[in-house]
Assembly symmetry: C2
Homo-oligomer: 263 residues x 2
DNA sequence: CATAGCATTCGACAATGCCGAATGGCGTTC
DNA sequence: GAACGCCATTCGGCATTGTCGAATGCTATG
């Protein structure tokens, strides 16, 4: 772990949380002397990773990040392969479709096909949702149970229906791994629910999840939707070179909640 | 300039150019010993800025960049203010509209409103175009002539009509600064032309450009389109607190080509 | 099964970035 | 309009830090 790079990343993260910050604010936020922070910020800004506000003397994230992320998206194999399938799924279902990959404790939306009803919808690519509050996150966790250890000790509640108990989450993930799909009902945003299935690659590992978002009053999803979704997940996985679907999960015992009387 | 951060940024840049690279490839690309590169890459990957390919042992850009860039876009004031105006411009003109900001020698598209004809169009946000080959770039250069010094010594030709001579570019930029708009005719992509106007902020400085893209057979644009575009630029600039529009350019002598007989 | 190429780990050296203090610029207040 | 105070920025000495070469381990290939 190289110190300077670690600190630089911390600073980017702080700017991610706070939009615009001065050197002193940043310094106290990361607990370093201002001169040190200044050096790091200056280095980052030489590469366009942070930028100084046009008028004031505060800093924000820089435009180079946009280019980097654009290339990141282009280099994501699963995204390129998914797009034609998810678009078709959106068309058939009349719903919006998302492709999500893991980013630490969150799912980040790497692609989004809007509802085909022609309404103006916001660009969701780049948005993040906590793992435990999304169907895609549940899928990713169910097939990578070791990631459960990285979850924050207390699960943040986004709505009244968010799962906040790790034991309950484990139990649900166990079912997810058995059924091959996950659902989420009003757990992230009130009125919005979703269903997700895994996407596997050549190695057989789950590398992403795709989900359809449906109004909560249409929950639970009809079998036909579920089948279309499954078919889509299977098709993408096949294009990526995965031979089996749904993927085999290493779950089993890993996902079972600890015995209730445990310390 | 902190060495480690500089090197880290170089590595991100190399990955930006080459998608997937192994440690040794990266090392020779940046001219450093593999062990050094490995340390940097490892540090970057801890923060999700680079990621290891799921199967092999090559590295690519990481998902954290997507989140960072998403926040970058959200924190771009000019983008938030532009969106409603550019959408309206697209609607009225039937053409696609772009918002571009400077990133070193390129313009990066920070927002894009597609043609309203309902056809499937690619997501242009994050794409970059060389300054000298785009109308937006010409606008940005015309109002920041000092940036001319950063241009590569030889201007890359993208089509037969790309301006590759710095003297000719300077002359055109002089006109751009006087007229308050720039055009580009088949200079970046054959069959595609564009017109751009500046966007100024509170300080009166030009911080972005907006452009409409039109088929080259409709070039030059009609006056009504030009007026709509100007109106849009003025409206956005006004929302950003700019009092005058078109902005005053610091150009004058700066943009005049050097005397032809100069050494 | 052997080999070659690669990623990765380790440790010693010294070059590097870190920090505290000094400077400079800017906005604000009286 | 002048003086104050805040904050970004610069600078230089010290020691911590990252760097690099060599050794290891892994995987894929012939």
């Amino acid at each position: 772990m190289i110190q300077a790079i670690d600190r630089a990343a911390q600073i980017l993260l702080k700017l991610q949380g706070s939009r615009h910050l001065g050197i002193t604010e940043l310094a106290s936020a990361v607990g370093l002397p201002p001169s040190t922070v200044h050096g790091i910020v200056k280095s980052l800004s030489q590469h366009g990773l942070v930028a100084k506000e046009s008028n004031g003397n505060r800093y924000m994230l820089g435009p180079a990040l946009l280019k980097l992320s654009s290339v990141y998206l282009d280099s994501l194999d699963v995204r390129a392969r998914s797009m034609r399938w998810t678009r078709e799924l959106s068309r058939r279902s009349g719903l919006s479709t998302r492709l999500g990959v893991k980013l630490f404790n969150e799912v980040i939306i790497a692609h989004h096909d809007p509802r085909p009803d022609g309404s103006e919808q916001m660009l969701e690519t780049g948005l993040v949702i906590p793992m435990h509050a999304s169907a895609m996150g549940k899928v990713l966790l169910a097939y990578h149970p070791e990631d459960l250890d990285d979850l924050p000790s207390s699960l943040r509640s986004l709505t009244g229906d968010t799962i906040t108990d790790l034991g309950i989450l484990r139990t649900e993930l166990h079912d997810v791994a058995e059924q091959g799909f996950a659902t989420e009902h009003d757990e992230a945003i009130l009125g919005e629910s979703s269903v997700a299935v895994p996407v596997a690659d050549q190695s057989g590992g789950v590398v992403a999840a795709i989900a359809v978002v449906l109004p909560s009053n249409e929950f639970p999803p009809q079998d036909s939707l579920l089948n279309d979704l499954r078919e889509t997940g299977r098709n993408i996985s096949r294009e990526l070179g995965s031979s089996v679907w749904p993927p085999i999960s290493s779950s089993g015992t890993l996902l079972l909640p600890p015995p209730p009387q445990s310390a």
